[in-house]
């Protein structure tokens, strides 16, 4: 056991450069694209990217480092479908350790990527359990708009952000109603007004079609420099006086209005889901993603027809609120069966820290296949729902979430079937870099593994 650990460490030390080709062979390989696992598969990575993966035989270049994964499982790293990972270290009564909800004057303009701390214990704990990327949404504070969310990696370095301002997050269900003064109708008026205010500023933004001429000079007229930027530059960005949002917030919604930025909408109730789908008629450019959707199965056909993807809680089955009366663990399976593009997120479920539970939840959806009357998903679909599917829902399927050639080399070697909570991540690679799996927790285990008194106090065991 110890010998193997040392060997593994030496291997890691031998691979300091990402230019090294690494072949992980002999394991059960699952690609994360919905296909079923492949026995005795191989994954080849180089320069931080996947070169090849599957049951193929390929000639490996000389000097390839071979990692023996016999008896192990190899999958893409888990992509936490909806989270607040990196925004808080401690959730309750710990001043300075929680950035997940901003209650200041800004809303839509808030950029979650500026608050991510890659050294939070939560990131290490999830990394050590095979979560390599996370979709991170800021929580709505005073407004229905939480702000702009990011995609991050969980690597042990100081560059956590994969994509900033990837999406805008808005609450249009019960929480939205609360933020808007107590009713859903009020939330919808607030939402439409916000997009109206954005529309006013749209004229300062570049068009959606590729620009042909030279870039306008901000000294001559105000502009949104970057379509994903939340600021209008220039001295003369005029607005009508009939406004509720700050200029920053209104400008941040311009890319949403233009369909350049995804709009993640949290709703649970069937009627709220239909209202959100209806927004597409009014604002055809919106790139909607439904978040939550506990009652989605009751209107699954309409969601499927709309083509709007869903990030749902996997195992909510309680009428926890009056907007989740029809909640069932079959929600995801039934939506998928109806043709909805659905993935798993942690909505209001320890979303700052327990993202590692998504694989257990995915396994629970597989279990439903053997419950009469329930609708489960296959193993391959379940894995895709915590890897490629959430990535695809925000347009990043070509970059993360599967072991297709060219994808970022985020992968995990597991002790066994990763959809069993009892399995553990043994090696984790992010962008091809082997990651440390030590955490605050593993250090505490070492310290307190044996309790008998020694020559010095526990504080000296480090």
């Amino acid at each position: 056991m110890i010998g193997r650990t040392i060997a593994a460490l030496l291997l890691a030390a031998a691979a300091p450069s990402t230019a090294q080709t690494i072949a992980i062979s002999g394991g059960t390989v699952a690609l994360g694209d919905g296909s079923e696992p492949i026995q005795n598969g191989t994954v080849v990575i180089r320069d931080g990217k996947v070169v090849a993966a599957g049951g193929m035989q390929m000639k490996l270049p000389a000097g390839t480092q071979v990692v023996d994964a016999t008896g192990k499982w190899v999958t893409p790293g888990i992509v936490a479908g909806f989270s607040r990972l990196g925004l808080a270290d401690v959730d309750l009564s710990a001043d300075g350790a929680d950035d997940s909800t901003a209650n200041g004057p800004f809303s839509a303009a808030i950029d979650a990527s500026t608050a991510i701390n890659p050294l939070h214990t939560t990131i290490a704990v999830n990394r050590a359990d095979g979560v390599t990327r996370a979709i991170v949404a800021p929580q709505a504070g005073k407004s229905i708009f939480g702000g702009q969310g990011a995609v991050i990696d969980t690597g042990a370095d100081m560059s956590p952000v994969t994509s900033s301002r990837r999406f805008q997050f808005v609450e249009l269900g019960q929480t939205g109603a609360d933020k808007a003064g107590g009713s859903r109708a009020s939330a919808h008026v607030f939402f439409r007004n916000a997009l109206r205010e954005a529309a006013e500023l749209r004229r300062y933004a570049p068009g959606v079609a590729a620009t042909t001429g030279e870039t306008p000079d901000e000294r001559e007229r105000p502009m949104v420099r970057n379509p994903n930027e939340s600021r209008v530059y220039g001295p003369d960005a005029r607005r009508s006086e009939d406004v509720l949002l700050t200029r920053f917030d209104a400008a941040a919604l311009v890319p949403v209005l233009q369909g350049r930025q995804y709009l993640l909408v949290h709703v649970e109730r069937a009627s709220d889901i239909l209202q959100v789908l209806g927004l597409k008629r009014e604002f055809p450019s919106l790139k909607l993603v439904l978040v939550g959707a506990s009652e989605g199965w009751t209107v699954a056909d309409q969601i499927a027809r709309s083509g709007v993807p869903v990030i749902a809680s996997a195992v909510n089955d309680l009428p926890a609120t009056f907007e989740q009366l029809a909640a069932t663990q079959s929600n995801i399976g039934r939506m998928r069966a109806a043709g909805v593009d659905v993935s798993i997120g942690m909505i209001d479920d320890n979303d700052t820290r327990n993202l590692f539970m998504e694989r257990q939840y995915a396994g629970n959806l597989v279990a439903l296949q053997r419950v009469p009357g329930a609708t489960g998903v296959t193993w391959g679909q379940a894995l895709a729902m915590i890897t490629s599917k959430p990535a695809q829902s925000i347009g990043m399927g070509g970059e993360i979430g599967s072991l297709a050639p060219g994808r970022r080399a985020d992968l995990v070697i597991w002790s066994g079937d990763p959809l069993e909570g009892s399995s553990a991540a043994e090696q984790v690679y992010i962008d091809g870099v082997r990651q440390p799996l030590e955490t605050h927790q593993t250090r505490l285990l070492e310290r307190y593994r044996y309790l008998p008194r020694r020559d010095l106090p526990e504080a000296y065991r480090h």
């Binding site: 926890a320 609120t321 009056f322 009469p372 927790q441």
Partner: protein
């Protein structure tokens, strides 16, 4: 001086003398107060004699029987053993090939019914946060038997018994109630017959936050301890008064509901169920129990139990734990995934709990994670059969009902789950659940699935959940 004293005493002596001529009436014999004024009305439902064969059986007390047979009838376990056990005449035979039989799971820490679904303010009945000491409140008077969560715990979780506790806002939160997971019109109808009461106590962050934010005591951990000690001092005086009354009769002392509960603890009749995360605070609570002469049965949410597993073992106190929750508050910051197996390894009593209407549906999976983490850490003597102790035997012990349920032992209540696969796998589900031998769930029969009043006529009524 002495003369004067005599002068004063003389009339008294005369009076005494007079009284001696008419002896004082004997004190009235003590009237014992009713300690069970809201008694259980639970009556087991009818079942048929049932034999499960060819299953893997976890007995709940550490044993595994392969190709095992479990027989129950008349509400109780009749026999467990190998394939050769004969069936009673007329019994229902179930082929358990590839399946697993376990005792029903016991969740020692639940708020079903007192924090029910839907989680709206009008149904929020778990914390009487109006004083740090509210031992006079009883959780059973908050339990809403129509909480849909009970059914999920039964059909998805295989939970047959629960302790419903008051919340942890208070140092003394009130009495708990142990219930059978059988739907009823009243809480009394669910109440586990003859189960002792528990008293919920709490250390740490919650009481000091709740009352500190109101500007009243306690607002510190030292305030927590001081306040609790003051209460115990009163409780001891109350107990002395009543002990004297019960011994000698006379005028009945004035009753105090809060003190009744604490006296029950000091008498050893009510079990202390103590919410306490941190190792140092558990040690303080142990000393407090010794100072006032009561016993702590279990520390709940004991995320730092691994730091003092030896102390817990020496004091025969159970630790009630999650598998991997961590960091949601400062007192859970040092949670580690090996907590449960480390406590077990130290010879202390380890228990897996939920404190949550969702996690209660997957306690077997929580135990599975803890078991796997323990094995990976090299902790010896662990197995699935041993880990099942964390789910039924140990919680039964900590609830004072181990003589009635918690293991598959002949004569005990037939609280039994047949799983459609290894319950330590995420892919397995309860297929049948029996409580006192009555089949309360059958995965193949939609009519054998409880539907609460709240859900009738609502979207999703009677659905698989």
């Amino acid at each position: 001086m002495s003369n004067r004293l005599f002068a004063v005493l003389a009339p008294a002596a005369l009076l005494t003398g007079c009284a001696a001529l008419n002896p004082p009436p004997k004190p009235a014999p003590a009237v014992h107060i009713n300690e069970d004024p809201y008694p259980s009305t639970y009556v087991r439902y009818p079942g048929v004699p049932t034999v499960i064969r060819h299953a893997t059986v976890f007995t709940g007390d550490g044993q595994q029987i392969n190709d095992g047979t479990v027989i129950f009838a008349d509400g109780v376990i009749q026999a467990i053993g190998s394939a050769s056990l004969p069936s009673p005449a007329g019994s229902r035979e179930i082929d358990g090939t590839g399946k697993f039989v376990t005792p029903g799971i016991i969740d020692i820490h639940s708020h079903l019914g007192d924090y029910p679904s839907p989680g709206v303010a009008s149904l929020s009945d778990g914390n009487e946060a109006t004083s740090p000491a509210r031992p006079e409140v009883w959780a059973e008077h908050s339990v809403w038997p129509q909480d849909p969560g009970f059914s999920r715990a039964l059909i998805n979780g295989g939970v047959t018994t629960m302790q419903i506790l008051p919340g942890s806002a208070n140092l003394f939160g009130g009495r708990s109630v142990v219930v059978k997971n059988v739907p009823a019109r009243t809480a009394q109808g669910m109440k586990f017959p003859a189960a002792p009461y528990g008293l919920k106590m709490a250390c740490g962050e919650n009481p000091k936050r709740v009352y500190g934010s109101k500007g009243s005591m306690p607002q510190t951990r030292m305030g927590n301890i001081a306040y609790a000690r003051e209460v115990w001092i009163k409780a001891q005086a109350y107990k002395r008064k009543w002990d004297k009354y019960y011994a000698k009769g006379g005028d009945m002392p004035e009753r105090d509901l809060a003190m009744d509960t604490l006296k029950g603890v000091l008498d050893g009749k009510i079990l202390i169920q103590n919410h306490c995360y941190r190792a140092d605070e558990m040690a303080n609570m142990i000393d407090m129990s010794k100072e006032f002469g009561y016993r702590i049965t279990a520390f709940h949410h004991a995320v730092e139990a691994y730091k003092i597993a030896d102390l817990l073992a020496a004091n025969d106190i159970c630790a009630v734990m999650w598998a991997d929750w961590y960091g949601f508050k400062m007192e859970s910051y040092d949670a580690i995934k090996e907590n449960i197996p480390l406590v077990h390894n130290a010879g202390a009593c380890a228990i897996v709990h939920s404190d949550d209407p969702n996690y209660i549906q997957r306690l077997n999976q929580e135990a599975s994670k803890a078991l796997a983490d323990g094995i990976r850490a090299g902790i010896p003597g662990l197995s699935e059969a041993v880990a099942w102790e964390w789910l039924s035997r140990n919680p039964a012990k900590a609830l004072g009902i181990l003589d009635k349920t918690g293991t598959l032992t002949p004569g005990k209540m037939a609280d039994v789950v047949l799983w459609n696969g290894d319950p330590f796998s995420d892919y397995s589900r309860p297929e049948h659940v029996w409580v006192d031998g009555a089949e309360m769930y059958d995965i193949n029969d939609p009519k054998k699935r409880p539907v609460s009043d709240f859900e009738l006529g609502q979207p999703g009524e009677g659905d698989v959940k």
